[in-house]
């Protein structure tokens, strides 16, 4: 699936449907981050963030939660970012798209919880991913200074929280955003 290519999402969804109509959980992870100071953010870049980080996920969520409703329920986890809550200089477009995801999380939960679908979000902090490896050393150090646990998070530490939110153990958790940030 390529969120920027017209028709790609519906094609991908059709493929998913041909594999299984019994989807238990959906995790919306894909995202881009093109950092720029506020006056340097181009309309194209802003649109790209909205298209990939927000619109694409909403489209997929609309489609798959419809399938979940027919099979008695499911769980959705959206991967947002602490930037969506705290704001981060240089991340106007990224922050706006990720903040949009948090509001969408709340609305999807309000409308779909009664249909047996829980919808939650996680907001990771500084995680050892390719997105963060692009950061220069000094910027990384500055960020880590703000993390009480004093270390960068591992991708699997985000995955384990997502797994839990998808599981029946989280049966009374919906509409929430959980920060995974080592206490920033």
């Amino acid at each position: 699936m390529d969120f920027t290519v017209p028709g790609s999402v519906s094609e991908g969804l059709g493929e998913i449907r041909s594999i299984s109509r019994d989807i238990a959980a959906l995790v919306n992870v894909a995202g881009i981050a093109e950092d720029a100071l506020v006056h340097m953010v181009t309309a194209e870049s802003f649109r790209r963030h909205m298209q990939i980080n927000l619109e694409g996920h909403i489209q997929i969520t609309q489609y798959l939660t419809r399938l979940m409703m027919r099979t008695g329920g499911g769980s959705v986890v959206n991967v947002s970012s602490v930037t969506a809550i705290d704001g981060n200089p240089g991340q106007l477009a990224y922050g706006a798209s990720k903040a949009g995801m948090l509001n969408a999380t709340r609305i999807f939960s309000m409308e779909l919880a009664s249909k047996g679908i829980r919808v939650n979000a996680v907001a990771p902090g500084v995680i050892d991913t390719e997105m963060n490896r692009r950061m220069d050393g000094a910027a990384r150090e500055r960020l880590l200074d703000r993390v009480a646990m004093g270390r960068i998070g591992k991708p699997e530490e985000v995955a384990s929280v997502i797994l839990w939110l998808c599981s029946p153990a989280a049966s009374f958790v919906t509409g929430q955003t959980l920060r995974i940030d080592g206490c920033m």
């Binding site: 309000m110 993390v147 998070g153 958790v173 509409g175 929430q176 080592g182 206490c183």
Partner: protein
Amino acid sequence: MSDRILKGQTILVTGANRGIGWATCQSLAANGAYVIAASRSGGDEFSVRLQALADACGVVASAVSLDLTDGESIREMMLFVRKLERPLTGLVNNAGVTYNALFQMSEIDTAREVFETNFFGPFSVMQGCARLMARHRNGSIVNISSTAAIDGNPGRSVYGPSKAALSTLTRAAGRELGPFGIRVNGIAPGMTDTEMLASMTDEVITGVERNTDLGRRGQPSEIAEAICFLLSPLASYVSGQVLRVDGGMRA
């Protein structure tokens, strides 16, 4: 989770004999933890019930007596914990009292008593436990707050602030104890099916349920599952957070 995610851990639970506290003991034991169950009014019945639980789950459990309004009682409990051969790895600050009264009708003396149990007591227990956890640089603390601490509900002008104090402590302690390998988190349960519900009218209860995404109240076991998650390695990078387990309560 089907795996025993707390295997090998030693976890202290306050207010362990009923409601969310007892459900927590059950989940902890089922997840393989050694449970230290503290309560004020436990008695023999509680010891028997706890032993049966431990046997059923193949773990060890100890009942200890605790009065959160009595500093000496807290010291005695901490002494018991310190003398254990296994290091303390977790604390669930669950014990609390409720108080429903309109703001203008709230008694200041009662308000102080509520803070004694809901804030100062847990504060001391946290201090004692964090000291032990810092020695081996490993620990996870979960404080049970309330959605009332965040939302500010009518009739809860004492209970809400007492829990809000605990939530803020959660965040402050998370920052201070992070460098010592201790995670500190909170849970804010929404309306949960415990004895505390008896203090609310049916009308209020139905109103809250209607205003909740899932359209129902929570079960103590559902709060307990969230507590186990935060204590476990699954939440190894989660600290300083207060997770609402409220079925999607609307403002």
